[in-house]
Symmetry: C2
Subunit: 444 residues, 2 copies
């Protein structure tokens, strides 16, 4: 519990959660509702629609929004409003909604959020760039036009910084630099130079410039949360009733590396590590995500201030170490496969998160909560898994497909691995209590 979300006159603070039916948006909406905010969700069900188009589904059974909302009210969670709308499409409708609701704050999750999905083909690249830019810009434009003094919390990505090794922690959004000039060193503080490695991350870098511009020109109050890879499924609120359960994506596009490993382990397939596994990434548990949003909401920057940027990351790990950890817990071996992404084979990554820690965040660590994911989610719902959806089929670059003689042999190797994945490394019944069954051999 952070701050009391009441206004001076005793009424509850109204917050719009754009994208509130999604993986981060839904638990955030419930958490803010529990904190006492008057929450209204805006969503276009695009995440559910993409699942239908890809033939995928959340491992956990997601209920229709009306049933979710009724369940929340039914267990005494309070009433949450809902509007079906695609932000970034019908601008007058968005503007009119803002004028009608007069929210004090807006949390903006309404963007396509998968890097592999954004790399599938030209269609998904265009969908991601067009949709994400339009959503963020329409929102900013409507706030500027209406003059509504609503505080905007935007979900960015730690991926805007890029993953090249620098030898120092990624600062929170801004970097103090000096440039050599004929008159001596010119010192200034700049947005950390963007170096995105996927179209999805590129859109978060574009968003940064949009936010920077409107904060400066229209004095909008904005916080940008550069989030790491979110893992975990449940929060206290989503766990309160199965009808409130949160998404667990394990498919090659939307499943994060941890979920993919958990799913492979639950099915007794070897965990597939892209490349050497030396890629280091930042992570955060979904419980911490919702707390961070509440913390960010409780401390808006002043009008006229630059965008406040916080790194929403609690720990960093190398992919190979995640594989080893989950292998140890589950007793499932892992293997290396060709990397479909264009990224450094190895990188070190250290991310400063002093901002949110200073505001009171007490992180959920991977080693504390991973067993719960194994037992309560991956194992429990394993019968709902479509194994064919686990491998990632998005290639970062045509060269990586080995097509047209670019990298001879690359694609066959990759395909071969996918085929092999369909053969279980061990029978599914071999899934057992990790405390007992983690063989030393699996540690490699």
């Amino acid at each position: 519990m952070t701050s009391v979300p009441r206004r001076g006159d005793g009424t509850r603070r109204k917050v719009l959660v754009l994208g509130g039916d999604g993986f981060c948006g839904w638990p955030t909406s419930l958490y803010l509702s529990r904190l006492g905010y008057d929450v209204m969700i805006v969503d276009d069900f695009s995440r559910r629609q993409i699942d239908r188009a890809l033939g995928t589904d959340s491992l956990t059974p997601i209920r229709p929004i009306a049933e979710r909302l009724a369940a929340w009210e039914g267990i005494g969670g309070g009433r949450i409003g809902f509007v079906e709308m695609r932000v970034g499409e019908d601008y007058p409708r968005l503007r009119d909604l803002l004028l009608a609701v007069q929210p004090q704050a807006i949390v903006h999750f309404a963007e396509q959020r998968s890097a592999p999905y954004s790399m599938r083909s030209a269609q998904e690249k265009r969908y991601t760039v067009g949709g994400n830019v339009a959503a963020t810009h329409d929102l900013l434009c409507a706030l500027a036009e209406t003059g509504l003094d609503a505080y905007l919390v935007h979900l960015g990505s730690v991926g805007v910084y890029g993953y090249s090794s620098t030898g120092f922690p990624r600062p929170e959004g801004y970097l103090r630099v000096g440039a050599q000039t004929p008159r001596g060193i010119f010192e200034t503080e700049i947005l950390y130079p963007a170096d995105p490695e996927s179209i999805y991350h590129l859109t978060k870098a574009l968003d940064q410039l949009l936010l920077q511009y409107y904060a400066k020109n229209d004095r909008l109050r904005v916080t940008d949360l550069h989030q790491g890879i979110v893992w975990g499924t449940q929060t206290d609120e989503t766990a309160a009733d199965e009808r409130l359960i949160n998404r667990f994506d394990y498919d090659g596009d939307y499943g994060t590396v941890i979920n993919r490993f958990l799913m492979q382990a639950a099915l007794g397939y070897p965990l597939t590590v892209h490349g050497s596994g030396g890629q280091t990434r930042g992570f955060i548990h979904i419980r911490d995500t919702v707390r961070c949003i509440a913390l960010a909401l409780s401390e808006p920057p002043a009008s006229g201030e630059r965008v406040r940027i916080l790194n929403q990351v609690t720990e960093t790990h190398r992919v190979i170490d995640l594989a080893r950890l989950i292998s140890r817990i589950s007793g499932t071996p892992f293997r290396h496969v060709d990397n479909p992404r264009l990224e450094p084979e190895e990188n070190e990554l250290d991310v400063s998160n002093a901002g949110l820690i200073g505001m009171g965040l007490s992180p959920t660590r991977l080693e504390d909560a991973l067993l719960t994911e194994v037992s309560d989610i991956a194992r429990r719902y394993a019968h709902r898994c479509d194994r064919s959806k686990i491998p990632s089929r998005s290639l970062w670059h045509p060269g990586l497909a080995g097509g047209a003689a670019a990298v001879p042999g690359a694609l066959p190797t990759f395909r071969q691995v996918e085929a092999e994945e369909l053969e279980p490394a061990m029978p599914q019944e071999a899934w057992h209590d990790p405390q007992i069954a983690a063989p030393e051999a699996a540690r490699l």
Copy 2:
């Protein structure tokens, strides 16, 4: 004349000019055609359409594209192809065009290019962001998807650097900086931090990130030309026949500061200087623009290289000095009016242009060519001017309008000035030979 635009097999190099019916695109198309390139124009006539919507028109009489192209062929200029298409809308059609034409190079002007227009209202903000991002991204996406090895020359803007005073020249796109870290200074070269002051300039900053990403991920060959304010109307090619004449925009949205002053002078109105006139901007003559494009085309970066960025600016001037110069030439006084833009009242600006100068550009200076603009364009076509269109009505921020008690009195003052502008400061017949009539008093 720069390089011989022939390929190894003796055929002419094919170049697509996107936005080739516009102010920069048209003379570029003719110049490249004259150099021997096989030119195809792609345009959606959006610039002509905006004129109709705003009730404005070029001072010079622009002929329909078919007549323009026939005239060029008629005077022996050669055949230029034309396709009517809005880049950024029908992606498959763009991709198929690229595959059918197989150009060796593409010059990309197909963006909304007026800062004041981009600030008119939410509608124009959305049109500019949506349209410019979609045009650039669709093009990049199509080049990546088709694998076509076409070299892309994109028109950026020197405005991406922002106009804050730094005490050193704006470098060409990249800045070498050092950051203090626990392990010592970390040195790196970064994209010069973007600090756009209008939605239009913001889109050029967004473009930069799009170009950077595709150059890196898909190894596209890209040059980004950060152009200053283009002045002047004619090139040798457009001046060869009146049916080939280039645009001269003098309206408050598309007219640049020089054209607005020239028009006011031609009509005998006092030149209106926004604010103190201490704003320093970078300029380039349209003749030099087309030469720069040809120079850029002749030296593509290699595949895998970062985006090559060149500053397409030949001189910088303070607005007040331009007013004094044109006042002196024309004998028209100038006056200060409230600044509708949110920008520093005064700034120094020095822009490095070593790249294009090193490639052989020999600049056309303001003092050499301004008289031609006065006599051949502003004076000659003054009878076509709609005086009511000269003042800029776009306000950078609602506060500048004095609306809703933000800046009381600001809007009335601004309106008052506009009304006064409709009263000529001197009778129109007072327009005379500037060599004789420039009164000392007008120099201020």
